[in-house]
Symmetry: C2
Subunit: 530 residues, 2 copies
Amino acid sequence: MAMGKDIFNEFKEHSISEFFKKNRQMLGYSSTVRSLVTVVHEYVSNSIDATEEAGILPDITIKLEKISENRYTVEVSDNGPGIPKNIVGRALGMILAGTKFHRNVQQRGQQGIGAAGCTLFALTTTGKPIHVISSMDSGRAFSCDISIDTLHNKPIMGNFVELEEVKRGLTVKGEFGDVKYDTGEHSIFEYLRRTALSNPHVQITFIDPNNKEVIFPRSIDKIPEKPRTAKLHPLGLTISDLIETAHSSKNSKLSNFLMENFARFSQGKINELKGMLDVDFDKKPSGLTWEDAEKIIKAFKEIKWIAPESAHIMPIGEEQIKTALKNIMNPDFMYVVERKPKVFRGGFPFIVEAAIAFGGSAGKKSEEGYSGNVLRFANKVPLLFDTGNCAITDAVKEIQWKRYNIDMEKQPVSLFVNVSSVHIPYSGVGKESISKEAEIIEEIKLALMDAARGLQHFIYKKQKLSLFAGRYKTIMRYTNQLSKDLSQLSGKDKEIIQKMLEKIVEEHYPRNNKEDVVEDGAENNLEDKE
Amino acid sequence: MAMGKDIFNEFKEHSISEFFKKNRQMLGYSSTVRSLVTVVHEYVSNSIDATEEAGILPDITIKLEKISENRYTVEVSDNGPGIPKNIVGRALGMILAGTKFHRNVQQRGQQGIGAAGCTLFALTTTGKPIHVISSMDSGRAFSCDISIDTLHNKPIMGNFVELEEVKRGLTVKGEFGDVKYDTGEHSIFEYLRRTALSNPHVQITFIDPNNKEVIFPRSIDKIPEKPRTAKLHPLGLTISDLIETAHSSKNSKLSNFLMENFARFSQGKINELKGMLDVDFDKKPSGLTWEDAEKIIKAFKEIKWIAPESAHIMPIGEEQIKTALKNIMNPDFMYVVERKPKVFRGGFPFIVEAAIAFGGSAGKKSEEGYSGNVLRFANKVPLLFDTGNCAITDAVKEIQWKRYNIDMEKQPVSLFVNVSSVHIPYSGVGKESISKEAEIIEEIKLALMDAARGLQHFIYKKQKLSLFAGRYKTIMRYTNQLSKDLSQLSGKDKEIIQKMLEKIVEEHYPRNNKEDVVEDGAENNLEDKE
């Protein structure tokens, strides 16, 4: 039984780099096809974040080259602000480091894992570092190679060269093994097409391994508003959040600390808390005890709060979605819904946008005909994988589409759902699906059901019109003979009778001359093909 | 455009504890019900690992108490080797530390995340530390409280007390908020029932929040063989694995280093490599360059290797699965398949076991009747969540069950699948699903299809017998009248004629007196209810 002791000699700490090196599938590096999409996804997300943050209209080029079977280079260039040299190593060569984790700002990246994960993936599959060219507005530019010391999760930098006359922006280029380029539903092309759909202000150029260039042109020239830092809402705080923030605070009074650091906090709220709790709100926040923090968090749940502010949440926008859908799918019909901000887990605000597109290049086309598809997005980033694990998938499944006369198996329908939040609760580190929080599923359902009613209305009118048009034609065929007969019987002029008959028919079956076009000016959310 | 620079002032490193505190759903702490199951799952897995490793038959008690709405305590006690006090802090209060990550041994835990994740979850939902009582065979025992300094991912220990006369083993007790106790398909009861199913050597006692005690008794008294450390197979190595192991090696020659550290390496293989490569195998491994490592890894893929050794993989075992299924489901029929070891991603061996149980308490029973269910396991640990994301689910879906006369919608069928490996490629950090590696899916399908043929055979025979039994009865009804008539016509004795007739009928429709029992001695994998 000395066993136990022997084993404990093996007790060791290990780095997060080692962990993900051994479990790369958790970062999205599972199949060969998916791995290559993951690399593009990480670099493109970072490029859009960086350019937007700097107030620049993003212009991004993705270039793939085939080196050999299962080995490719990926090069992504942007016109963003670049990365300073004192930071670039950690930004690309250290897992859990970055500008995004601490700031409480809505961005595509959140974790400081993605780009360093690419470096780790290149290292483990080809042994090669990532090559970077960074050029800042200051005119200073450099190139270097970045790899990771995985035992210590520290960047390894090499081949540093100062450069001149390089266009502003960042270029990252890596060589990756265990990957495969594919076209199809889960391809880089589809990923970029969907990125263009949810980011109409971004210009994307894609050069595929056959050197074929595809451009997804910018369809809107407006830079989205810069993301703003959000204060945490009291209802989203845990006891340990409160303790940690308090203990690192320089405020002299607990009351001031609360009012300055959290949303919706006023002197009135402090007074309310004082009336409820036996806690000294004048003491230093650095001395806040577990007991007091627990009391305060408990009291938070008992008093009334204004909902978390959602001004820092940046959805895509109704007009932007319409423009992008028109641009990319040119559907016969579309209906866009933007829901009001809601809250999950008590204190985290989020906004759901949903759209349904019908006809055009909406849906999926195969040999057996059309079927519906679901385009999932989180903070404007397309989610292509882990479909089964996602709140959006659950919401779609829970809706009885047949009730809306929508047949997801046979109709050219695309459902578009984007969830925006400062803190998207991803199911996994690879950020390919949204955790099944009840509040989020509910919001997505409401948005989709609203859009479904829009489509139902359109389909109903289309069917009715096509029925009318059929009847109109049939009856018109008889008016000629009937007016002849009536003219003989009544002695009145045949032409006059025929015109009267035609008028009656047209009153009953209107719009006969616009058979294929639906008009609906009253409901301005209904958009039709021009 | 000073933007870029401002932002980079925000560049920070953050700890893995902070990361998971913010993303607890990635560890399995998403819904209230699932969170409570996750806590039990982590502690029970660790207890079974520790006892098995020490060669002890595991005896585990799980006790839940309700503190208030959405707040429970969980206490798990085992009869294992305990944890020494110099290690217990890091074992339960530091993420990415443990005995399992580096050892290349098949265990339930792999990552050094689970138990520390529970501490983090307690801390963030109730602010309370975990209470531990550890008693080792030496007689020394202590209790203490453990929490985490999340900013630095370091343990915080307190209330240390030396104890006397405590039974050997480890007890961990924590108080958790944002949780809910539930009975049903995804409950703690179901988790423990399935744990008993895949671990017939473990005795489990469960005391639920209503103080009701359920015991899952041990059905096999044999301790599974101790897991053995596996050497990595050359085909499972990445360039960076090779470089890192080489650079930390004390061998004086690259050739010896390779032979000592990796599986299936002989002098013959070294000679083969020497013939292929312009690499000096006499030089120090610590001086191995990227270029040489890359050449070596490339050559590995080109030469023939004996398959990875699988002696260190510990499946449950056919007899154990049968005993457990009989014990827990008492099915009318079961068929167990153990596949030979196979390899995924080139070098990682794994073994699939599958079983089908039919009748008894197999399947799911609801108001609408029976339906089939799937019991997923990885290294004997039940997987209750993330069903959509799992290789086992994909394999089940890809099989055309109707071809085997099996109706998963309407029959009382349980599919049982256990994947064993030193390195299970989990899809997520929460370890609730197996990544969809093509080789693993294929093996699961083959195992299930084999089992399905067994069940098909049973169902066919059962149907045939029931047909025979019906015909037998019908025809027997006529023998009396017929023998009377024949006796009159022929003048022979009626009794003799009747016996002859009955003999003929019985020859045509045998086993008439064993209507409900199927015998099949020839196929010893077929097991029937006695």
